[in-house]
């Protein structure tokens, strides 16, 4: 079956603009995670959804970052007033249940100019 998909694959935006990054998890996976990966670093946890609700958003760096998963499948990560420091690869992963192995998407590379 289809894996986790993320769109767009690349996003270039100007400082101060608003961006949305989309994640389509594997069908039937209830757990969904967003991570941010900077060059030379491992993935950094941002937020975890169990179904429609954000069970843990403690990794979101500040209130410019927000994520939703309104129907328990597709999720959108939203970044307001983007800053150059937000430039990174944003990864989405899903798993059947929390604690299971995660299946990662290819990522969205965000560049803020």
């Amino acid at each position: 079956g289809a894996g986790v998909s993320q769109t767009p694959s690349n996003k270039v935006t100007e400082k101060g603009k608003y961006v949305e990054l989309r994640c389509d998890p594997i069908s039937g996976h209830t757990a969904l995670y967003w991570y941010r990966q900077s060059l030379g670093q491992g993935p950094e946890f941002l937020i975890y959804f169990q179904g429609t609700g954000a069970a843990d958003d403690s990794g979101l760096p500040n209130d410019r970052f927000f994520a939703v998963r309104p129907e328990g499948s597709v999720s959108t990560l939203k970044i307001q007033r983007t800053e150059r420091g937000d430039s990174a690869m944003y990864l989405c992963a899903s798993s059947l249940l929390h604690g299971d192995e995660q299946y990662f998407g290819p990522g969205t590379r965000l560049t803020v100019t």
Partner: protein, 113 residues
């Protein structure tokens, strides 16, 4: 706080030789430990996990990892390396107090023909 360390940025090994990629962890309680691999231009892929039970865990592509509680290590191993094993490897620990997964900084494995 839970943490994971990968002390080597890069490991070089000749094809056919055994390989080891090191990981140490710091947790309170019993650890849930994972290894993921990232090939160029591809998303992270799950290799194996340790939850409980046998200290030697077998995973995908002939990889295995040994959980050592006294040394707080979870080193990744393979008896005979292939050139195609060349990739970036990440160790991760699940934070049992939250829903976070904490990843190491990664080790680049280079298998030389």
């Amino acid at each position: 706080a839970q943490s994971v360390a990968q002390p080597e940025d890069q490991v070089n090994v000749a094809e056919g030789n055994p390989l080891t990629v090191k990981c140490t962890y710091s947790v309170s309680g019993n650890p849930y430990l994972f290894w993921y691999v990232q090939y160029p231009n591809r998303g992270l892929q799950f290799l194996l996990k340790y939850i409980t039970g046998d200290n030697l865990v077998k995973g995908s592509y002939g990889f295995e990892a040994e959980f050592n509680k006294s040394q707080t290590s979870f080193h990744l191993k393979k008896p005979s390396a292939l050139v195609s094993d060349s990739a970036l490897y990440f160790c991760a620990v699940r934070d049992l107090g939250t829903y976070k997964y904490i990843f190491g900084t990664g080790t680049r494995l280079k298998v030389l023909a």
